[in-house]
Symmetry: C5
Subunit: 384 residues, 5 copies
C-alpha cells in the first residue's frame, strides 16, 4: 500500500544502507550546542498556523522573529519548520523560543534517538516518522522534533518534502472534530498520533512479505531467499529501534505530571501509547517469525541436499553393479586356454541370461528404493 | 475437541493467514473516534438481559435508546451487542452509554490489543475470545469488549454467530449457582472467566499435535513436517499475543482499587488471573517444545543424510575396486607380443582365480562395514 | 535411586506423555466451584493426627463432620485426605472447614499451578510433589493442597498410594526433634520441606543421565541419542514448571506478614525457600547443558558425515583414474590399421609398465591423503 | 576514519588478543590499596590547568605537593596525570588529594570496570576511553579515572601518548563556549562527553565492516569470512563491556543528588547519558546483525554444498548409464556360439543406433535437470 | 598459573564430573538440623587467632568449649575450623556459638548455595572458594562458611588442606596494613576479599584456553575440539553458579543496615562487590565467546565437507567422461559387418585423436574448476 505522491528524494541510493543504524555525532570534545548543517540540506521554510475555537489562520514566516507576538497569545500557535539547511535561521529560532543549546543540538543534528525531555516551561519530544519507500521495498524515516510550550508548539522536520500532518492541518482549517476546542497539548497529541499511526502501513507490507517468504523458504530455498530473510531481519531491527524509545517517551509523557499537558489530553496520549505498543508488538512478532524462517531455511537446505544425494545414490547404486557385470564379461580370459575361462561367453543363452541378471538386479534395487519411498520424495519436489 | 455447531464463517480462507498478527489502524491523522465499518459486517443485534435475585428477563432491543431506563435501575442490566455492521447504531449506543470517543473507537475498530482502561464511572475491558476452527486445525478469535458501569454491563462482540456466554445466560435464567445474588461486577467476571477458560480446549489440541510431531520429526523428517513445526510456532505465537495482555489486564483489574469492583469479586478475579497464568504457562511450554523440535528436525535431516551417504559409500566402495579389476582383464595387451603381456588370460585357473580375488575383496569390505555397524544403522531405518 | 514400594499406578501408560504440560480446566462458563470427579479416582480416606507437646493420637475418620471438635481445640490437628474420588465427601469437607468454593475447586480439580492464596483466616497452598518412576526413567508427580487454619492443617492428596510425609508422621509419633513443641504452622513447614526435598533425588538421576549422554553424543551420535536429549529437555521443562511457582509461593509465605505464620517458622521457611532455589538452579543448569548437547549433537552428525565422505572420496579418487587407464587399454583401436593405434599393446613391457603406472598413481594418492591426515581421522573413529 | 598521529604503542602485538576481556587483579589476600606498577609503564607527567572566567593558566607540575595551594582556591583546578609508572609519585598524589586507599588502587591497577563511587567530599569516576587502531582494524582502549572534588578535578590516564581532551583544553585556553563560566563539575562533564563521543567513530568503522561482510557471506562464504564474523562478534562484545557500565555510571551521577554536581550540569550530563544510550543501542544492533550473519553463513555453506553436489550428481547421472551401455557392448559374448549372443554387434546400424541411444538418454537427462532449474542455479553462482 | 603445593585430594577422579552441579540434600522429611558426616571427612582442626591493635596470638583448640572466654572479649577472635569429620565436635561448636540448627546444617551439609542470612546477633555467610586443579585443567572448589558475631568470627572450611587465607593470617601476625586496627567485620571482609580474588587466576586460564580454541576451531575442527568447547561451556556454567549468588550475598551485606558491619567496612565491601561483578562479567563474556565458538565450529565442519566434496567432484567430473570415451572404443561392434560400425578403430589417426579428445576435455574441465577457484580453496587447506 505505497502512499502516492511520496517524494523522489526517498529513493535513497544503496550505498548508505546501514544509515538507519547510525546516530549523529560530532567531533569528540566539541562545544555542546554545536550545530552541523548538511551541505545538501534545503533552507528551512517556516509556516505558522494560529487558531482558536472561532478562527484559524495560516501564514508563511520569513524571519523567525515574526513568531514572537504569537508565543504568549492565548491562541494555539503552531510553528512548523521544514528543512535543516541554515544554521543562522536555526540559531535565531533557538533564541526566539529560548531553546536550551542542547535542545537545539538535538533538533538540528539528526538522527537522534527518540526521547522526551522536560525543560523549564518546555517539553522536548524527539520522534521518528516512517514512511514506505515509493518502490514499495523498505521504508525511509525522518526525525520530527516537537517543542511544546505553554501556548505554542514548535515542530522541526528533517525532510521538507513530506510529512504525515496534512490531515491534522485539514482538521484545523475546516474545524473538523474537536481539535480547535482544545489547547496546544492536544495539537501535540494529534501530530504524535499521526506519526505513530504511520508505522502501521509499513508493517503491513512486511507482513505480506513474510507470508510470501514462508512458502519460498520451504519449497525452494535459494540464495535470494536467504538474502531476503536477512534483509527483513535487518529492517525490522531498524523499525524496532525507531518505535521502542518512542513508546517509552509517550509513556513518560503520560506519567510525569507536567502542567503543560492536561489530564484530558493524557487520556488521548494513553490511546497513542496503546498504538505504540501495538506497533512494537507487531514488530517483535515479525522479528520472531523471521528468525524462525532462518531456522526453517537451514533445514530446507538440508532437505534439498538429501534429495540431491538420493538421486545420486539411486543412479549410482543401480548402475555401478550393472557396470561391474558388463566389465566382467568384457574381460579377455582366453576360453581356449581352459574350459574354466569364461565359458559363459560361448553358451547359447549367455547374452540373454546376462541381461536377465542385470535387469533383475536393477529392478530389485528400484523396488527397494520404491518401498523406502525415495521416489515419492523425489517426485514430490517436482515444483522445485 | 472441536465444539459442535461452530459457525461456518470461522473457516476463514487461506489468504489472510497473517491476519492474527495485525492490529486495526485507520488513516494516519484521522479524527480520534473515527469508526470504520467493515462492508461485510452484519448489522448489530442487541439483547438485554435484566435480572436481580428474584427475577430475570431477556428482551431484544431495536433502538439503543430503549436501554436508557435500565442503566440506573438497581437490577443488573446486561446489554449484549453482536455484530459491528452499523455506524449509526454504534454511535447511538455510544451516546446512550456516554462512551468516550476513544472507547467507541476501540470497541468498533477491531482488532485491538487486550487491555483494561478506567474512565469516569466506567471500566473498559478489551478481551480476545478464541475457539477451535471446525476443521480442528488452528483456531480463530474475535474481540469482545466489556464496558462495566455501576449497574450495567455493555458487551460488544465482533462476530455475531458465536460466543462462549451461553452457559452464563443459562445460569442467569435458571438461577443456577449464585450469579443472581451478585452485582454486575460478578457478571463481568463470569464472562471473562468463560473467555479465559476457552483457551484450554485450543491448547489441548496443540498438545496433541506436538506429541504427533515428536515421533515424526525423529523418525521421518520431511518437508511437510517442517511446515507443520513452523505453522505451530506461528500459531502459538499468535495465542501468546492474545493471552499475554489479557493476563496483565486482569491483574490490573485486581490491583487497581476501582470502586466498581467489590472485594468479593476480586477474589473471583484472582481465580481468573490464575487461569490466565496457566494458559500462558502452557503456551510458553509448547513454544519451547516446538522450538526444540526445530533443532531436532535439523539434526534428523543430518542423520538421514548420513544414512543415504552410507548406502552410496558402501556400494561404491565395494564395486569400484571390482570394476577396476574387471577393467584390467578387459585390457587388450597382446599376449602374443610378449610373455609378460597378461599371461593370466591364458592360465588354466585364470578366470576362477579372478572371481575368487573379487569375491574375497568384496566380502572383506562387507565385513569391514559390518563390524563398524553401518548395516545395523541401515536396517534400523527400515521404517523410514 | 528409585524408591522401593512405589505404587504400580505410577507406571503410567505412554499415551498421556504430554500430561505434565496440561492444567485442569472445566467447561468454559461453568459455575465457579464446580467439582469434576475422575471416574477412576479412589474414594478419599481421611486420617486425623492430633498432637500437642505431651501426647499425639492418630485416627481414621469416616465422616468429615467428625473433624469439627478438633478444629478449634488448642492441639495441632492435621486432617490428611487421600484420594479425590467422592464429590459428596469433598463437599462436606468443604463445609466443615468453611472452604471458599474456589479453594475447593483448586483442591479437587487437579492439576493446578502451585500457588499460595490468603483467605479469611486460612492460607491455601497448592504444591506439587514429585517422585521417581519405579522404572527409574522419568518422574511422576501429584498435587498436594494444604489449607492452614489457626489450629488445624488440612492436606488433600491426589494419589492415595504414596506421599513423602511418613518421616514427619514418625517424628510426631515418636516426638523426635522439636515438631511437637511447635504450632500448626511448623507442621505445614515440615510437610512443605519434605515436598521440596523430594525434588533432589529426581534431579540426581537426571544428572547421571546427562553424564551418560555427554559421551554418547560426541562419540556415536545416533537417532536414539537425539530422542534421549529431546526427552530430557522435555522432562526438565516439566520439572521447572513444577518448582518455579512453588519457589514463588514459599517466598510470598515468608514476605506476607500473615498472622497464621509465626516469625520463628518464617526462619524455617527461609531454609525451605533456599532449597527451592537450589532445585531451580539445578534444573536450569541441566536445561542449559541439555541445550548445549543438542548443539554438540548437530556438530557431531556433521563430523560423522565428513568421515563417511572421506572414505568415499579416498576410494573414488584412487580407483577412478586407475579404472580410466584400464579402460584406455581396453579400447579396440586396430593396431594393424596404423602404427599409431595403441602400439603399447604390442610392446614387450606394455603390461608391466601399465601396472607400474597404475601402482605409482595409486600410491601417490594414498600418500597425499596420508599426509593430510585423512587416514588418522578414519582410524580414530574405529570405536564408532 | 583512523585518527592521524595515534601512538605506535597502540599497535599491540597479537599475543594479548584477549586482553580486553581481563580485569586487573592482585594476589588474593593482598592488603587493600596495594599498587602494582607495570614495568613498562612510563613515569607520570602532571599538568595543572587552572582557570576562572577571566584567566586560564597551564603549568607542568614536578612534585605532586605543588598542587596543594590550588585545591581549595575558588578557581577551577584540573590536575591531569598521564602514565602510571611511579608508585612513589602516585602514593604522594593520593596523600595530596586525600584519596581513600581503595580509590588509589582502582586508579592505578588498571583495567577496572567503569563505575561511579561517592566518597567523603569526592566522586570517583572510572571511565574507559576507546580509539581506533592506526591500522583501522579494531580499537584500543585505556582507563581514565576522574576524581571530582569541590574545586578541583584530578584525572589519571593509563596511556600518556594520547587522550581525547585536546579540544576541551583548547576551549579553556581560548575561552570558547561557556566552559570558563562554569565550575569544575562542568569540566568533568566536558571530559566525560569527549570520552563517550569517542565511541562513535569506532562504531562507524564496524558498521562499514558489517556491510562489507553482508555481501561476502551470501555470495562467497569462505573460512576467512567466518573468522571475520567471529572477530567482529568478539570486538563488539568488548565494546559493549566498555559502554554498558559507563552508561550506568552516568545515570547514577544524574540521579544521586550529590552536592558536588549542580542542577545545571545535571542537564548536560543527561545529554551525555543520551549519547551513551545511543552508543549502546548501536553496539547491540551490530551484535544482533553479526549474530544473524553467522546464521546466514551456515546456510550459505549448505547452499554451496548443494551446488557442488548438483554438479557431481549431474555429471554422474548423465555418464554412469552411458558408461554402462558402452560396457555392455564391450562384453565378449561369442556371437558365433549362438545367434542370441550380441547380434547387435553385427548389425549394419549397430554402432549408430548405440550412439543414438546414448545421446537420447543423455539429452533426456540434461533436459530433466534443465527443467528442474539445476543449470540456472549453477550458472547463477558463476561469481563464486 | 597452578598454585604449588595444592593437595593431592584435589585431583578428583573422573567419575564425579557433574559433582559441581549438585547440592547437598538429606532424606526428605528429616528433622531440620540433621547433620550428615561424610565417611571420608577428616576430623576438624580448630585454630584460634586472637588479636587487637597491640598484640596477636594463635593457638590450636582441642575442645570447642575453649573458645567460650574469647567470644565476649573485646579483642577480635577468629575461630577457624577445617574439616567436617566429627558430628560431635560440630554439635558442640554449634552450642558454643549458639548456632541456629539451620545454620549448623548449612555449614556442615555441603555443598550449599552461597548466601547471606541474618540471625539474632549473627550473620551467616556461605561462600565458595575456587582454586585451579594442580593439573592446570579445570578448577576445584570448596565451601567456606563464615559466622560473624559481635566480637568473633567463626569460619568453617570443607577441605582442611588448603585455603586462601594465609596472606591474611600473615597480615595479622606481622601487623601489616591496617587489619589489626579494625574490628572483626574488617576481618570478615578480608577473608571474603581473598575468596573473590581467587576467582581471577582461574578465569585467566580459561581466557588462554579460549584463545587456543579459537584458532583450532576455524583451522582444523575435530571431534576433540568439540569436546573441549563443550567442556569449557560446562565449567564456565559451574563458575557462574559459584559467583552469581556470591555477588548477591555481598550486595545484601552492603545494603542491609546490620549493626554488625560498620559504615567504614561497608566501603571495603563495596570494593569486594566490585570485584565480584568483574568476575561475573568475565564469566559471562567467556560463556558468550564459547557459545559463539560452537556456532563457528558447526560452520567449519560444513566448510570442511565442502572441501572434501570438491575434491570428489573434481576427480569424478574429470574422469567419468574420459572413462566413458574409453568405454565407447572398447565396444565390440563388428567393423566387418558394416562400414558404419566403429570405423574410427581403423583410422590411421584414430588412437591419437582419441587421446587428444580426452586431454582436451580434461584440460577444459580443469580450467573450469581453476577459474571458479576450487583449486585455490583446496590448496588453502593444506595446513588441515
Ligand atoms: Mg534501512
Ligand atoms: Mg543531545
Ligand atoms: Mg497486515
Ligand atoms: Mg506469515
Ligand atoms: Mg515461527
Ligand atoms: Mg532461531
Ligand atoms: Mg491464525
Ligand atoms: Mg484506541
Ligand atoms: Mg494435552
Ligand atoms: Mg513434547
Ligand atoms: Mg531453535
Ligand atoms: Mg536453539
Ligand atoms: Mg512426564
Ligand atoms: Mg482456581
Ligand atoms: Mg549428580
Ligand atoms: Mg554435563
Ligand atoms: Mg539448542
Ligand atoms: Mg546452545
Ligand atoms: Mg580486543
Ligand atoms: Mg577496587
Ligand atoms: Mg555507519
Ligand atoms: Mg548490516
Ligand atoms: Mg546464532
Ligand atoms: Mg540469528
Ligand atoms: Mg539461530
Ligand atoms: Mg568441575
Ligand atoms: Mg539450609
Ligand atoms: Mg586472559
Ligand atoms: Mg576469544
Ligand atoms: Mg548456539
Ligand atoms: Mg552464538
Amino acid at each position: 500500500m505505497p502512499r502516492p505522491g511520496a517524494p523522489p528524494a526517498l529513493a535513497a541510493p544503496e550505498e548508505d544502507e546501514l544509515y538507519e543504524f547510525d546516530y549523529f555525532y560530532h567531533e569528540p570534545g566539541a562545544v555542546p550546542g554545536t550545530l552541523r548543517i548538511d551541505a545538501d540540506a534545503l533552507p528551512p521554510t517556516i509556516v505558522l498556523i494560529d487558531y482558536c475555537e472561532t478562527k484559524a489562520s495560516r501564514s508563511t514566516i520569513h524571519e523567525p522573529e515574526e513568531c514572537i507576538p504569537y508565543l504568549d497569545s492565548a491562541s494555539v500557535s503552531w510553528v512548523d519548520v521544514k528543512g535543516l539547511g541554515s544554521e543562522e535561521t536555526l540559531q535565531r529560532l533557538g533564541r526566539v523560543f529560548s531553546l536550551h543549546p542542547l535542545v537545539l543540538e538535538d533538533v538540528v543534528n539528526v538522527p537522534q534517538r527518540p526521547k522526551v525531555e522536560e525543560y523549564q516551561n518546555q517539553i522536548l519530544l524527539i520522534a521518528r516518522m516512517v514512511t514506505l519507500k515509493p518502490s514499495g521495498e523498505g521504508f525511509c524515516s525522518e526525525q520530527v522534533s516537537l517543542i511544546l510550550g505553554p501556548h505554542y508548539l514548535l515542530t522541526v522536520q528533517e525532510e521538507p518534502e513530506y510529512d504525515a500532518f496534512d490531515p491534522v492541518r485539514e482538521r484545523i482549517r475546516t474545524n473538523k472534530g474537536t481539535i480547535r476546542t482544545h489547547q496546544v497539548d492536544y495539537l501535540a497529541y494529534a501530530l504524535l498520533d499521526s506519526i505513530i499511526d504511520g508505522f502501521f502501513p509499513v508493517l503491513e507490507v512486511y507482513g505480506e512479505q513474510l507470508e510470501a517468504l514462508e512458502d519460498e523458504v520451504v519449497m525452494n530455498p535459494s540464495r535470494k531467499t536467504l538474502e531476503k530473510i536477512y534483509q527483513m531481519r535487518r529492517e525490522l531491527l531498524s523499525l524496532r529501534r525507531a518505535i521502542w524509545p518512542q513508546r517509552d517517551a509517550i509513556n513518560s509523557l503520560i506519567r510525569d505530571e507536567n502542567p503543560l499537558i492536561s489530564a484530558e489530553v493524557r487520556v488521548y496520549l494513553r490511546d497513542c501509547y496503546d498504538h505504540a505498543i501495538q506497533v512494537l508488538d507487531m514488530v517483535e512478532t515479525y522479528r520472531e517469525l523471521a528468525s524462525s524462517l532462518m531456522d526453517v531455511y537451514l533445514s530446507s537446505v538440508g532437505n534439498k541436499m538429501n534429495e540431491i544425494m538420493k538421486l545420486l545414490t539411486v543412479i549410482s547404486t543401480i548402475f555401478i553393479p550393472l557396470t561391474f557385470i558388463a566389465g566382467v564379461y568384457g574381460m579377455n580370459f582366453n576360453p581356449d586356454a581352459s574350459p574354466l575361462n569364461m565359458p559363459e561367453l560361448n553358451w547359447y543363452w549367455g547374452y540373454p541370461v546376462c541381461w536377465t541378471l542385470m535387469l533383475t538386479l536393477a529392478s530389485s534395487l528400484v523396488g527397494f528404493f520404491w518401498r523406502r519411498g525415495w521416489f515419492e520424495n523425489f517426485s514430490a519436489s517436482k515444483n522445485d
